[in-house]
């Protein structure tokens, strides 16, 4: 009975995994094919990989786009985690009626479609450019600033803090730690898996962010990966082999970040800390 359940679990997971990665496998095959073969739906590997790579690294500067996206994503992830967890912790641990109200208001900011606030936000950055050009239009700072302070991560950290053993805070105070000391010495290490999950999501959001970088970044040398892929698909005769190759290359960093971060999701490790 138990063995049967095991087999069923593996079978189910294998099917789910196959369904999930099938399009990705298709892309892997397609990156070795010519455009006409890709559009014909060819599922066999070809010999065009080198030519596709040559276009990407020669005619198109994918290396610099990867670099830009990486810089933006790493900084964004770090700041998002710091700012989001500070606030999520603050709202839950120092909970008051007033803060709850502010929290609810902050949640509102998640609800408006970005397209609706994009133009006013652009105008705001246009004004900022006047006094502080280093965070104005066409800077990497402008591309990441509105994405590092988000209600999403405050909400996420707050909900997870609800599961955090609050007596640890009291214990920290008795040990004479400052409030910020409790946060960094006790909360952060205890909530490692929450940070791991947040890091995955923040990195991915930043890596795939499209609309805002598109609008705010102007110089060709500041192009990010999603914009580059969008450019490849433009025009009367797009090269699908090159597009697929670019997408495989673009997908790998986030997949790797996930693979390494998910190792922190080890069942039942935290139970001992509470006891």
């Amino acid at each position: 009975m138990k063995k049967l359940k095991r087999v069923a679990t593996y079978l189910f997971l294998s099917i789910a995994a196959l369904v999930s990665i099938f399009p990705f496998l298709w892309m892997l095959v397609s990156m070795t094919n010519k455009s006409v073969d890709v559009t014909a739906g060819r599922l066999l590997p070809g010999t065009h990989l080198f030519e596709n790579l040559k276009v990407l690294f020669g005619q198109v500067d994918i290396a610099s786009a990867m670099w830009n996206s990486t810089i933006i994503a790493v900084i964004t992830t770090f700041l998002t985690l710091l700012i989001g967890s500070l606030a999520g912790y603050g709202f839950e641990i120092y909970r008051t009626r007033g803060k709850d109200m502010i929290f609810n208001i902050l949640l509102l900011s998640m609800m408006i479609p970005f397209a609706a606030i994009m133009i006013p936000l652009y105008r705001l950055f246009g004004r900022i450019s006047g006094t502080a050009p280093f965070i104005g239009i066409d800077t990497l700072a402008a591309a990441l600033l509105p994405t590092v302070i988000t209600a999403f991560f405050i909400f996420f950290f707050r909900q997870n803090t609800k599961m955090f053993a609050k007596e640890l805070v009291e214990a920290g105070r008795i040990d004479g730690l400052s409030e910020l000391g409790i946060f960094f010495r006790i909360y952060v290490p205890t909530m490692k898996t929450t940070y791991a999950a947040a890091a995955i999501i923040a990195f991915m959001n930043s890596w795939n962010n499209y609309l805002w970088p598109l609008v705010v970044l102007q110089s060709p040398e500041k192009l990010t990966i999603p914009l580059l892929i969008s450019n490849l698909g433009a025009g009367y005769s797009p090269d699908y082999g090159v597009i697929m190759t670019a997408i495989v290359i673009a997908t790998l960093p986030t997949a790797l970040v996930f693979f390494f971060m998910q190792k922190h999701f080890v069942a039942g490790m935290m139970g001992s800390v509470k006891g």
Partner: protein, 308 residues
């Protein structure tokens, strides 16, 4: 059970705090949230207020004039908006529950310490939400094409007798979109559960096992109640995500056939960029989303019994 008494203890000890201590704590609490409050105020609320003012205006591009609530009245006589709204609500009601349950199920399966290849399974299921939409849309359209793999599979299993027009039939196109969203975002929701499961006290499961509770009982009496804050979180963000659904519709069906798969966000995009731009009316439609999410989130908070 022990968890509950613990938290009430904390609660009562908090009440005993002196006024000064409370004031000091309160003040420090504000410091924790200050940067976020200012940042969100500047980068989100200021533009949101501007967008609201815009929703009271109408006109082409830069030639806007004040029309008061006329845009809001226009919504009710706009058949395109009404189909977008209906479609979006259908997506919401069908898709979000399926995805949440599926993600919860995967995360419990993949949280098993004795499971082999968990890293692979987790990464595989997460992969769809990382993959660029450009390629994924191209491939999806091949899969759901008239002579695509999905039809071939269904024909071979004798579930259908002739190929289905997945992308040009109004109902089937909606199903395709729902399948696409579920495929793409289940792994994403799984992460939140997987990480939260690590914060659940393992001893509770051991105690339950000693008491003879089955896996299903453990799931419903320990996992679900313990994960409640996160389930609330994921259902709210999925609600928001679905109400703002854009990418899948834009790339797979472009709203067609007719307006059968059009979503509200796609309509906002069309009003702003595809047609002659009317940013005022687009802002009005955006505020419909805000109102809907507020209502739905309030219901979800209430259902989850999150104390104020």
């Amino acid at each position: 059970m022990s968890e509950l008494t613990k938290s009430t203890n904390v609660q009562s000890s908090l009440n005993k705090k002196t006024f000064v201590q409370r004031f000091k704590k309160n003040y420090i609490g504000w410091l924790f949230i200050a940067l976020s409050v200012v940042g969100i105020g500047l980068f989100y609320f200021y533009p949101m207020v501007q967008a609201f003012l815009l929703s009271l205006k109408s006109g082409m591009g830069a030639n806007l004039e004040f029309v008061g609530l006329e845009n809001y009245a226009r919504l009710f006589n706009d058949p395109t908006f009404i189909s977008a709204l209906t479609n979006t609500i259908i997506y919401l009601l069908v898709q979000v529950p399926i995805m949440i349950v599926l993600a919860l199920f995967f995360s419990v399966l993949l949280n098993d310490a004795t499971l082999k290849f968990k890293g692979f399974f987790r990464t595989a299921i997460f992969l769809p939400c990382v993959t660029s939409l450009v390629a994924y849309a191209v491939i999806f359209k091949y899969l759901f094409g008239v002579d695509g793999l999905v039809n071939k599979l269904l024909l071979n299993l004798h579930l259908i007798s002739e190929p289905l027009n997945w992308l040009s039939d109004p109902v089937l196109a909606k199903i395709t979109i729902i399948a696409a969203i579920t495929w793409r975002w289940t792994g994403y929701n799984m992460i939140f559960y997987l990480s939260a499961l690590q914060n659940v006290d393992k001893q509770m499961y051991e105690a339950a096992r000693i008491d003879g509770a089955s896996a299903i009982q453990q799931f419903f009496y320990i996992t679900v109640p313990m994960l409640k804050p996160i389930i609330l979180f994921t259902s709210i963000i999925s609600t928001i995500g679905t109400l703002q659904l854009f990418d899948e519709v834009m790339n797979i069906t472009a709203g067609g056939p007719g307006n059968a798969t059009l979503s509200i966000s796609m309509y906002i995009y069309n009003l702003s960029f595809e047609y002659t731009p009317d940013f005022g009316y687009a802002a009005t439609v955006s505020y419909v989303i805000v109102i809907l999410v507020v209502i739905l989130s309030m219901i979800q908070f209430r259902v989850a019994g999150d104390k104020r």
